[in-house]
Subunit: 215 residues, 2 copies
DNA sequence: CCGCCCTTGTGAAAGGTTTCACAAACCAAG
DNA sequence: CTTGGTTTGTGAAACCTTTCACAAGGGCGG
């Protein structure tokens, strides 16, 4: 058991946990690997393999205890606690994040927001005072934010990410369309909408080329 | 050459194209696979393999013509044209998308926006009139939108996706935290911020567990 | 034209992930 | 207690992706 766990496995664990929480709320007590697999588009074997990396959570012939597995996955994914986020860039995407209740509901609290725009500094967005970039380091140190969120223009994203890292965050979520390179073991995830759209563009063009030449 | 191309390959092609466009703007004429590889964190062999699925674009000893490869990748990815998007749900994320100039700049134009909220219907957001859900089908048919964007609450996301598909879109970009299943060959990409954050949470917990037990 | 250096394109090898298939274990009913 | 139906946990097999390594080809100076 346990070794290097792939990104896709971790992704699926999150999806399993989501479903398990729904089941728990619905009062279901046991669930089988095949029921668990369905909503994430995985197979039952994959569910069992994924879980087997971390231990043995099921009962043969019976399935998994919903409550037990929820607690186990929360432990594995680090979700039995909540995490503090520091947001840099309170533009379109940044504001949308601040207003999105789904984050806090799932244990991700935005505790600080920064921007360079003088007009925004000092004002409040969704109850949070917007601070100048110069205060980035001391404020992050003080409030103990663990995750930095980059929602700035592309040109400054790399620089901001480096600054967040120096300020002591343990991970970075990046919304700028640029591939940031992990340094010092601080993991970075990039959410790149244009990349997703271009992926869809490829698939549609491909479909068109196929039907176009076959017909 | 050419067969089934993996998602990760397509992702990288987009990244190569991004860099190539920068080089083109900078007036660079030729580029090698290793230069092309660097910013996306790939290797030069991977760049060459990725491209080799579609043909032979380089000159041995010299590299790739920047302009030629830009045109080739645009053709492959379906980006020599622009795409029309129909947005459903003009809440926080939907508004952020409407205001994000980066989409139109890269050939993705939002041409229609829908919402259920009576208070929003008829008003304009970033120059686009917000329409009632009842008009979804006729309006999409009329304006010929190819990509549907789901920016609604989770509960209705699946239903909206199905409706978009019936309205004739060829692909769907989904922002609701739910795994939507592709039907009728309409590809779906989901942007799930909570999933990304949970991935980071796992990595940070894992790092903590390692140093915690080793020290 | 020749020889040198450089970079592509690509089979083969390595590495990683998913699926298969089945023994081991558990529950319930008789 | 035994039997039958069910589901887990897991090696082995199949599949897919990435890396390696090198022959083939191109440009350039002499």
């Amino acid at each position: 058991m346990s070794g290097r766990i792939s990104d896709s496995t971790v992704r699926r664990l999150s999806l399993y946990l989501r479903m398990l929480r729904d089941l728990e709320r619905a009062g279901v007590e046991f669930v089988s690997s095949s029921q668990l697999a369905e909503p994430s588009g995985a197979t039952s074997a994959q569910v069992r393999k994924d879980l087997s990396h971390f231990g043995s959570f099921g009962k043969r012939g019976r399935g998994y205890s919903v409550e037990g597995l929820v607690r186990a996955l929360e432990g594995i994914l680090g979700l039995s606690r909540s995490w503090r986020l520091a947001l840099v860039g309170v533009g379109k995407i940044g504001s949308a994040l601040l207003g999105y209740g789904g984050l806090a509901a799932r244990g991700f609290d935005v505790v600080a927001a920064f921007d360079v725009d003088e007009a925004k500094i000092g004002t409040r967005a969704h109850g949070l005072r917007i601070r100048p970039m110069t205060e980035l380091r001391p404020v992050i140190a003080e409030c103990g934010a663990e995750i930095g969120v980059v929602a700035t223009p592309t040109e400054v994203a790399a620089e901001i990410a480096a600054e967040l890292e120096r300020a002591g965050v343990g991970a970075i979520l990046n919304f700028a369309p640029i591939e940031l390179s992990e340094v010092n073991g601080v993991p970075i995830r990039t959410v790149d909408i244009v990349l997703e759209l271009e992926g869809l563009s490829y698939l549609m063009s491909e479909a068109g080329r196929r039907t176009g030449s076959d017909a």
